[in-house]
Amino acid sequence: MSDLLLSASELTLRAPIPASAGRLVPLLRDVALELKRGELCGLLGRSGSGKTLLARTLLGIGKVQGARLEGSIHYHSSANSAPLSLLSAAAPSPPAGWAGYIFQDPVAALDPMRTVADQIAESIALRSPGLSRRELLDRAEHWLQRVRLADPQRCGRLYPFELSGGMAQRVCAAVALAAEPELLVADEPTSGLDWSLRRGLVELLGEQCQQLGSTLLLISHDEQVVEHLTERVLTIEGGVLVSDQDGCLPRYSRPLEKRPEGDVPEHRLRLLRARGLRRSFVASKVNEAPVEAVAGVDLDLYEGELVGLVGESGSGKTTLGKVLLNILVPDEGELCFDGYELPGLAELQLRRLRGSMQYSYQQPGAALNPAMSIAQHLQETAQLHCGVTAAEAPTAALRALADFEMESKGDSFSGELSGGEQRRASLARVLMPQPRLLVLDEPSAGLDAEVKLRLLNRLRQGQGSESCVVVISHELELVSRFANRVLVMYAGRVVEELPPSSLDPAAAAGELHPYTDQLLAASFRSIRTIEPERRPKDPGGCSFRHRCHRVAPEVPLWQRCTNEEPVLVQGIGAGHRVACHLFENAVNLESQ
């Protein structure tokens, strides 16, 4: 028995690309690679470098029309010694389910019309045919447990669209793992996950693969993710495998410059004033109470400010971001932007204001019309918000594209772009009108370190003047370096407001809200169970009390925590406000 699983040599893929007018362009060049059984291997590269294409070519999925593939790919079976060529049609094919693939977009990869358990059962049946349906479903439930989804029975009955991003990612992992593949390819499995779940998922994949004795090929642009888990790292650039090494990594990212302290101007103009904002959504199940995604938020945003909004997934960050710009109309509360009361403003006036308040969506391609080219989008924006005539619009669009080094991509459609390019295109679109209030929802997801850095530096340059940027992110490190002020959200409420310098894992216990403590700890701790998002309206009391590690039913304060909802009060030090009864006591004690 050899411990080699898959070997490829002199692999070159040429295909016509839209811009090449039918000419064949090499997309992969002379790739040679060997994967051993049970190995944890990372594949690192920037967006558009050919990571996904290489993995797909190795597994023979997603064939490119008109492409020419040269070289060889061999599958080495553990039982007989002769390797099987995966490229020749005559050779016998490897056993069904030998390879599994976790797709980048988890929800899209699942069949929307079938339940989660059903789809896992299908994978199990691939390896062990002849099981009864009952047994299959039992095993499916077991797999849901193995990927650490709480309440597997309930989860199994859900449909993909009822899952949160993190849950869907785990379900995808379960579907792929249930076939007990010899090779598991995970394509950017962590994109769009909040940072307390990201590391957990990667570790989970590694652990499960080791249990099964499978090889894991982890594709990512994020070197931290790859470095954390894998024993061996392959780096790909422009379709060429540039390095293959154990442990140590080539670094192509420079660290973020540290923001100079105290650069927030003293007398600032208030851009936005929000009081008592509430917004709830109808629950997916008939008899459940509506879910309050934003449950009473007071907020002021000033000119020249960079605000970070953090919290775990499902805490209401995105909804708050949309409500602030009146994209989602608040159910209750006041919202005043630059002197205009937004809810109830005449449509024409609101539309004129839109140029000065822009929102960048979390999914990179979501904001782009799939049937319109990138340049067309930007020309439209130029004419709409920048007072540019139709004749000058193409020039303006090109200039905006050049800012993001996307000049050559103007004629592309969003479907032809990689995730990172889609992100840059949508950013170019929202930055073009030079908005005074800009909300960026997870702006760094899908961007490699270099582009991320350029984007942030560009935002910071613009910040000196009169614009305000709100960054919704799960990357605590990014937020703490970039923002002037950080807001922490839990269960639809802002539970803490703090200067970025306090966002330090080394902070003494008790200086921060218990939730922020947990968030900070979680970014260094490993696997956590995700709770299915169920957040009925809390009739009163602190919504965090059940997870709080500092109060328990035995503590005298518990009575207050159950009955009285905490409000934001002055905390410890300047710029620190916190909504927690523990702090009210502390402050009271101090003042006495």
Partner: protein, 323 residues
């Protein structure tokens, strides 16, 4: 579903498969050929061989192919090829009219039903569409044309108008189909986040609907139905012309009435080909030269190929994986 994130899939979209390319070539070829033939037909209107005017020349009925008559002649001795080409004139413009009727009625109706929910007007339109689609298509067309014919005093003078009436009715019978398809597409587009993003970006409802939804994302549904309607009109026109009463009346040529005139040739040709007294090839030769086999085959093939081509184009538009 994965197309948005997958460079390989978008390459596939950019390069259609051989099967699709065949459909496209056939479909576009048909449209091009019909247009050229229609233009040619405009110059044929005064050609005496067409048999529209009485001429003194001696005509040979059911003649075989010759240098004078490349496809031979029909039962009255008129040139088959000329009549075949001139027939395009009787359905080309009315067919386009049918497509225009669908376009101009369905797009507003579909938008009304799909872009927003509810409203009294939407209810009325939806009711009208249901009423319209509950009529069998051919009955609607025939009854409409019969009423028209009964109303005008001199049907012969209103021939051209009757063809356009026919086109209008065929178009009308397809309005519910396109309106519903368009409404369904708009309803699904409306849910997509790029529409919300456009609104958040500050675009007006008008440009969201016109530019982002109809022009970029719906045009091929509309074009596809226009092809279908054109094909359907061709079918209805040739059927009615064959049956006699409401189609194109002789002596004006139509593929339908050309076939009707040579009905008996089918039997004659069969007798000649499979007759006991000669070999198969001799029989075929006789059938072509004396039995009028070409007079049957030529219009039949013209009908089959044209309708097939239009359906192929519609199929291409439906199956091509557009971005």
């Amino acid at each position: 579903m994965l197309a948005t994130k997958d460079p390989a899939a978008s390459l596939e979209a950019a390069l259609p498969s051989p099967e699709l390319r065949l459909l496209r070539a056939y479909g576009l070829g048909t449209v091009f050929a019909l247009t050229v033939l229609w233009l040619a037909a405009q110059f044929l209107a005064f050609e005496p061989q067409l048999g529209l005017q009485r001429v003194g020349a001696q005509l040979t009925p059911m003649a075989g192919p010759s240098v004078d008559h490349l496809l031979g002649t029909d039962q009255l001795g008129r040139d088959l090829l000329l009549r075949l080409v001139a027939s395009v004139d009787s359905f080309y413009l009315p067919g386009l009219f049918a497509a225009l009727v669908v376009l101009f009625l369905s797009v507003p109706a579909g938008t009304l039903l799909g872009y927003r929910d509810g409203g009294l007007l939407a209810l009325v339109v939806s009711f009208l569409l249901t009423t319209l689609s509950s009529w069998p298509r051919l009955v609607l067309v025939v009854v409409g044309v019969a009423m028209f014919t009964a109303m005008v005093s001199d049907p012969a003078a209103w021939e051209e108008q009757r063809l356009f009436m026919l086109g209008g009715l065929v178009g009308l019978s397809y309005v519910p189909d396109l309106a519903r398809a368009l409404a369904a597409r708009l309803r699904s587009l409306r849910q997509q986040s790029f529409v919300e993003a456009c609104r958040a970006h500050g675009l007006s409802e008008r440009s969201i609907l016109l530019r982002h939804m109809l022009l970029t994302n719906c045009w091929r549904i509309v074009l596809r139905h226009c092809c279908l309607v054109f094909g359907a009109f061709l079918l209805v026109e040739t059927s009615l012309s064959y049956l006699g009463d409401y189609g194109v009346p002789p002596p004006r040529p139509s593929w339908g009435n050309m076939l009707a005139g040579v009905k008996s040739s089918v039997l004659t040709s069969r007798g000649l080909i499979f007759g006991a007294d000669s070999s198969l090839s001799d029989g075929l030769f006789l059938a072509v030269n004396q039995g009028g086999l070409l007079a049957v085959l030529a219009p039949s093939l013209a009908i089959i190929l044209s309708i097939g081509g239009l359906l192929a184009l519609a199929e291409y538009l439906a199956r091509r994986d557009w971005r």
